[in-house]
Amino acid sequence: MTEASYEYLINVTDLHKSFGDLHVLQGVSEHISKGEVVSIIGPSGGGKSTFLRCLNLLEVPDAGSIVFEGVDITDKKVDINLHRQKMGMVFQHFNVFPHMTVAENITMAPVLLGKKTKAEAEEMAKELLNRVGLLEKSKEYPKRLSGGQKQRLAIVRALAMEPDVMLFDEPTSALDPEMVGEVLNVIKNLVKDGMTTVIVTHEMGFAREVSDRVLFMDGGIIAEKGTPEELFGSPQNPRTKEFLGKVLY
């Protein structure tokens, strides 16, 4: 597929999702262009994480469509596994594979899914680990890593699939404060290299610094969106104001 055949990298239309009686997403529409960096902020329970997890169908929406690179991935006939290869995801709790070495964590998926030979994948793992300062840990098991190191590993594990977009689900929320910086730096460098990025975060300073656009989600909808200057500088929605008032002191 040529890149010109779709307007947006991800185009979400009227997404709905309920967990039992809880209507978590109440009609979310948004599009993300190639190379864009979009931060999603808002109070917990507002639907941020669910929205992000819908983008690669870790949560299956009840209604609405998600068109990724021109393909509606909510269509049941679509092989979601193929599309997930192009969408890297990083989780709050790292979810590195404890039974594999650091290097194996990275090489497993590209080799298993036939994207790379073992030798190629190992070469790439070296390069990626070097980039995030973990090269000397490549033969260790994740239990020997700190939280920040685990999260850096999780990021390069996702990058090893050479994704077209990276999804971050509160990547620093489970970290000790002194480790937040090292992980944010890795994400910043990614952004600098032009990676399309969607990030759910509570790090307002970071969101303000790296984002092209910021979405404020509350009550299952995107209550307000705009450039960081607009949203942080002069929020229009009273709920945005209230939220920012609480977190920015």
Partner: protein, 230 residues
Amino acid sequence: MFSNIVRILERYWNLFLIGTGYTLLMSAITVLFGLIFGALLALLRKNRLGIPIGKKKFYPIRFLAVAYIEIIRGTPILLQLYFFYFLLPMLFPILNLSKFTSIMVALIFNSSAYVSEVIRAGIEGVDHGQMEAARSLGLSSRQTMMKIILPQAIKNILPAMGNEFIMMIKETSLSSTFFVGDLMTQYKTVSGALYLSIEPLMIVGFIYFVLTFSLSKGVAVLERRMSAGD
């Protein structure tokens, strides 16, 4: 009493040895096949074949697997031994099954139900985030199971299988009801020949204890090794 024990051992040591061999062999076979069929049962429990009934769905294969597990766990093992002991020769008269075979089948049926629960718990014990991470990389659910979930579940399952083996060493004693050669059968033989109960019971009890105690120590070591890998 002590001199009696020594005399019994001198005269019947080979019977106790054979009994120990049978008990260990029966337990090992039971656990081995229990593992195979238990894994199969655990798989059937996750079967997705569903028949829609109104708004809900009925899963016939899941239902059968769960019913089997619950019935086995809800009835005494001695009853199950009797049941298969009488049922199998009736169902397959041509095969001319020995009573040992019938008892083994009963033990395996019993163990499979318990092992399937062990496997299920082992798989469910793996953090849900592992599955999500693997799926987000593009792995299929099958690849995720084989490469990510099972290798970690083994760490939970293997020690529990050791405990199942220890349980079986004790439970096979019930098969002595049918004189199939296990340790407890040897007790009956010796006790019948000598009109003595306490002394042969002490001998057999001592052997059971040594077997289970040393094995449970082994399982504890295994458990420690396994958790060291995390």
